[in-house]
């Protein structure tokens, strides 16, 4: 049997992929079917990211690169969100293909999420295969990570978009360390490029730095050898090295530009920035970090209990993990186990923030730590995958130890004691689900079969028993999660009380200002919500009078009164306008024209996130205020000629329109910037295709390392 399996998987590599990688993933999809069928929705940050990705894809499929988001808090530059989602990522374009195939955008996004998760887990399987050098142990590690609550994280936050390039980078790094192939080298560069252009690269930098330091300590000679071969590779592949260097430098540009923009003061992220002590708006105050560390997420104290009431973001690791870890106690250790352990310990010192001094030291002395808020991501990005590898490596050592000895009865007693201890522990915890007991039983059965049957039986049975143990427990746990989420989400969708309806409306109208242009934030926090709502309900307002004001709180109160009364006065900052922009007509009517479209003075010819075209027909020269936020990158053109655009009524766009018929065009940013973004996408696509070609060559040699 073992021989047969070996033959099947060795001769036909696709079968290994199909049975050991795809099949468990299909079972995972079954566990999370309610998300994929739309019964359950995305939660928390995952929802916001889904919106931004859909917004980007929606316009990109129409040939528009959305650099401005007119719907976000009165309008805001989209760079922040583009950087977060990784706009150059070629995999995002899968959604465009699905859209063209007629798949609804919500489902297309879920398919993208599922596919991306699969990519991450596949890379993990390959890494496990590389390090453990055995299909069975790689499979065990794979299903442990696949069915852990990493899977629920993709519906809860956005770390999957940074995890995929990070984990593939490490896979290519391992492959490159073994064989300096061009495909692996380019793969590493592509992954680093994606890491740099997605969210923040600092998680990766920290993980890599710790990995590198410990690698030097544990495998000093191998490291020197690796360095030597890497230099030799670069020397012998000069063109590829230059290309990759340029590629990485170019990839850094959007992040650097964004960093510069974050210091301009035009936008704010007040919640996270408070107390940061840095001029960059994206810096995080040290006080805000504790809420995002590993302790605040309860990863220490909720591993075993509460699975019946598990919530999104909670931790769950199949019990197979703990059982093999426990049973491995008497197994031998090796260097890899210590290496993984010290990586985990080093990262854990950072992730527990205030419970160890390391984080605060790093925050004070390493610049990029000021930009990391959700410290607990280290757990999902590195600590858990490394922990799984460590436990499976220990398990492998145990089995090797059992094979080496002949005292089967002694080992049986030992295994019984370990299982009994675990059962006793679970019993003491209370509230353990039936699936968990089934998992413990199946793992015990595996050990029995391993001890008393030949390997040609125990090995194939082991695949099935482990898969069953993990699947049964996970299906029940995620079933409980679905049962808990469904009524909660339904309550939000179909509120039962008036109070809840009003709370929902209030939240929609006045969401937390996570990211907003500074002047909009000031206005938002100063003007009465009722007045603001009423004012913003008019997209265009025509004024006869324009007066300067001092951008002070007192002036904003005057503005509030004018807004509430629809007074025929627009306010422009006296610091950003000239006397020529001001005008006071005593004979003008007291009320502004808040409905110029209805009165036939204005018609909107076209609009998209980046531009707007308006036709005006005015009897006299009037000041038009467009109630979407002003930003210095917006440019106005009247009848084809550049016109001054002012920040009007504190936060909005305003400009003087001459009498008669005019065509007004407003554009965000300049054509070069759009061209740059399109070129960057093309560069990534080109690199990706080249990578696929190179990796196909490597695959023909030996893809599974």
């Amino acid at each position: 049997m073992k021989l047969l399996m070996h033959k099947i998987f060795t001769k036909i590599a696709r079968w290994e992929f199909l049975f050991l990688v795809v099949l468990p993933f299909v079972l995972w999809v079954f566990c999370f079917r309610h998300f994929f069928t739309g019964r359950l929705w995305l939660e928390e940050d995952a929802l916001s990211y889904a919106d931004h990705i859909r917004f980007y894809i929606e316009y990109l499929s129409k040939g528009i690169f959305p650099l401005w988001d007119p719907t976000w808090n009165g309008g805001a530059p989209n760079h922040f969100f583009l950087q977060r989602i990784g706009d150059v990522n070629p995999f995002l374009f899968l959604m465009i293909v699905l859209k063209w195939l007629g798949v609804p955008s919500a489902l297309a996004y879920l398919i993208f999420l599922g596919m991306y998760y699969f990519l991450a887990m596949w890379a993990f399987y390959l890494i496990a295969r590389f390090l453990l050098k055995d299909r069975f142990f790689a499979f065990t590690a794979y299903i442990l990570l696949l069915f852990s609550s990493w899977g629920s994280e993709i519906f809860y936050n956005y770390i999957i978009i940074i995890f995929v390039p990070i984990i593939w980078f490490f896979y290519f790094l391992l492959c490159f360390s073994k064989e300096a192939h061009k495909g692996y080298f380019l793969g590493m560069c592509l992954c680093v490029g994606l890491i740099v252009t997605t969210y923040i690269p600092f998680f990766f930098l920290t993980i890599l730095a710790i990995f590198a330091v410990l690698y030097i300590l544990f495998y000093g000679r191998l490291f020197l050898d690796f360095l030597k071969r890497s230099f030799q590779f670069c020397y012998s592949h000069k063109r590829l090295t230059v290309f990759c260097t340029v590629f990485l430098l170019v990839s850094c540009i959007p992040a650097l530009v964004f960093y510069q923009e974050s210091k301009s003061g035009e936008f704010v992220l007040s919640n996270r920035h408070a107390g940061a002590g840095s001029s960059s708006a994206v810096a995080v105050g040290v006080e805000n970090v504790a809420s995002g560390d590993i302790i605040s997420h309860g990863y220490f104290d909720r591993i075993f209990d509460d699975h019946a009431h598990i919530d999104m973001g909670d931790i769950f690791i199949p019990y197979l993990f703990f059982l093999i870890l426990l049973c491995a106690t008497c197994g031998p250790v090796n260097k890899l186990i210590f290496f993984l352990l010290f990586n985990i310990l080093a990262l854990s010192l950072i992730t527990i923030t205030s419970a160890a001094g390391v984080y605060h030291f790093l925050y004070a002395h390493i610049v990029f730590f000021k930009f990391i808020r959700n410290i607990y991501y280290f757990f999902w990005l590195a600590m858990l995958p490394m922990g799984v590898l460590l436990s499976v490596r220990a398990f492998k050592s145990l089995l090797t130890s059992i094979d080496a000895g002949d005292k089967k009865t002694g080992w049986l007693m030992y295994i019984i004691v370990c299982h009994a201890a675990f059962i006793w522990f679970l019993w003491a915890q209370g509230g353990v689900l039936a699936g968990a007991w089934a998992a413990v039983g199946l793992v015990f059965l595996y050990f029995l079969i391993y001890l008393f049957f030949e390997k040609n039986i125990s090995r194939p049975v082991g695949f099935c028993l482990f898969l069953a143990a993990v699947c049964i427990q996970s299906a029940q746990v995620y079933g409980c999660l679905g049962d808990k989420l469904f009524p909660m989400q339904q309550e939000i969708a179909h509120p039962k009380s008036i109070q809840q309806v009003s709370a929902n409306i209030a939240n929609q109208r006045h969401p937390d200002l996570y990211y907003a242009l500074s002047w909009f934030a000031v206005l938002f926090n100063t003007i009465e919500p009722r007045v603001m709502d009423s004012y913003e309900s008019h997209p265009f307002i025509l004024y006869d009078n324009v007066v300067p004001y001092a951008d002070s709180q007192e002036s904003l109160k005057v503005l509030e009164k004018a807004m509430a009364a629809n007074a025929n006065i627009a306010y422009v900052s006296k610091f950003e306008s000239h006397p020529g922009d001001w005008h006071n007509d005593p004979d003008a009517s007291s009320a502004a024209n808040v409905n110029p479209i209805v009165s036939g003075r204005l018609s909107l010819l076209s609009s998209d996130p980046n531009s707007m075209k308006i036709k005006t027909h005015l009897e006299t020269r009037q000041f038009l205020v467009i109630n979407n936020n002003y930003h210095s990158d917006w440019h106005a053109f009247i009848n084809g000629r550049g016109a001054p655009l002012l920040r009007a009524n504190a936060a909005f766009k305003g400009l003087w329109i001459p009498a008669g018929d005019s065509t007004v065009v407003l554009r965000f940013s300049n054509p070069l910037r759009y061209l740059w973004h399109y070129l960057l996408i093309a560069l990534y696509w080109g690199t990706f295709v080249y990578f696929l070609v190179l990796i196909k060559q490597a695959k023909q040699k030996k893809f599974y390392a």
């Binding site: 504790a290 302790i295 605040s296 309860g298 220490f300 104290d301 491995a328 106690t329 008497c330 197994g331 031998p332 250790v333 186990i337 352990l341 310990l345 010192l349 527990i352 205030s354 419970a355 160890a356 001094g357 390391v358 220990a394 050592s397 145990l398």
Partner: protein, 307 residues
């Protein structure tokens, strides 16, 4: 022997179990376990904070809020007591929850435990114990607790409440729109009423007169009509009918709808031979009784309080 020990040590340190020792030592050296433990507790507590609205609404109108799910509040207060077993505020609040969720013995034990703070009597716990014993007809015990309640320093209770994180969470609830000082005055008035009523039930009219006099003299207390009424009852018990009549009249000058006052006035009229006035007063008393004004008798509406 040495060789065996050496081999055993070698074997032990080459086993995976050594990893657990490393982690343990690592935690001892690098991790501030106190902070870790404290933060885990805080996280537990934060995730268990209940919605206090039903509890607040219940305290105002228990009859209209029956069938309340006490579990979230109970879990929260129990969790606090797990971490801080001596927290008088949590004991007092859990006592309130336990009483109304049918665990009266547990509630009494908690109130007793929270009845003093640094040897100073606390108002709310003693008041609640007074209410519980009064409702059970255990008047001597009720007198004992209620005397402690009225003798306590209300400022101490207020300061403890205002400095308690749990109370701050309760005050932050949109359902909490009350003045704490007013509520405390109201609770003290209720304590006096229950105490006077208990003394009346025990027939201790002289003590009743002293307490009523004390209550009438306090300007901060509400429900003065009740104190005049109980003063009248005390004097009636002490056979000072004329004086009692005057206090009943004074009670009526503040609150005209108390049927019991008319009843006792009718009694006085009858004893003094004024039959027609007695009949009139009885008729008014009967008519008012028919109205079922829920404010009367004064002692009927006294419930447990947590603010």
């Amino acid at each position: 022997m040495l060789k065996i020990i050496n081999n055993t040590m070698k074997w032990a340190f080459s086993r995976f179990g050594v990893i657990y020792i490393i982690v343990f030592v690592f935690c001892l050296i690098f991790v501030d376990l106190k902070t870790l433990d404290m933060r885990i507790k805080v996280r537990h507590l934060n995730s268990a904070i209940p919605d206090f609205i039903p509890m607040i609404n219940f305290s105002r109108a228990p009859d209209q809020n029956q069938g309340l799910d006490w579990a979230p509040c109970k879990n929260y207060f129990e969790l606090i007591l797990r971490f801080m077993p001596d927290d008088v505020v949590a004991q007092q609040l859990l006592g309130f929850v336990d009483y109304y969720s049918g665990q009266q013995e547990k509630a009494v034990a908690l109130f007793k435990s929270a009845s003093s703070f640094h040897e100073q009597n606390l108002f709310l716990s003693n008041y609640n114990l007074g209410v519980i014993t009064y409702k059970k007809g255990m008047y001597p015990q009720a007198v004992e607790y209620l005397l402690k309640a009225i003798a306590s320093n209300p400022q101490l209770t207020l300061v403890i409440m205002q400095n308690s994180i749990i109370y701050r969470q309760i005050f932050a609830s949109p359902a909490f729109g009350y003045s704490l000082e007013n509520e405390m005055d109201d609770a003290q008035s209720d304590a006096y009423i229950l105490l006077l009523s208990s003394l009346h039930a025990l027939g201790q009219y002289d003590k009743m007169w002293v307490i009523a006099t004390h209550a009438m003299a306090r300007e901060d207390l509400h429900k003065k009509d009740a104190f005049y009424y109980y003063a009248g009852l005390a004097l009636l018990g002490l056979n000072q009918t004329e004086k009692a009549f005057l206090f009943f009249q004074k009670s009526l000058s503040i609150e005209k709808n108390n049927p019991d006052v008319y009843f006792y006035i009718a009694d006085i009229y009858q004893k003094t031979g004024q039959e027609s006035q007695a009949r009139n007063a009885l008729a008014i008393s009967y008519a008012l009784h028919q109205k079922n004004d829920e404010r009367f008798p004064y002692d009927q509406k006294a419930n447990l309080r947590f603010f």
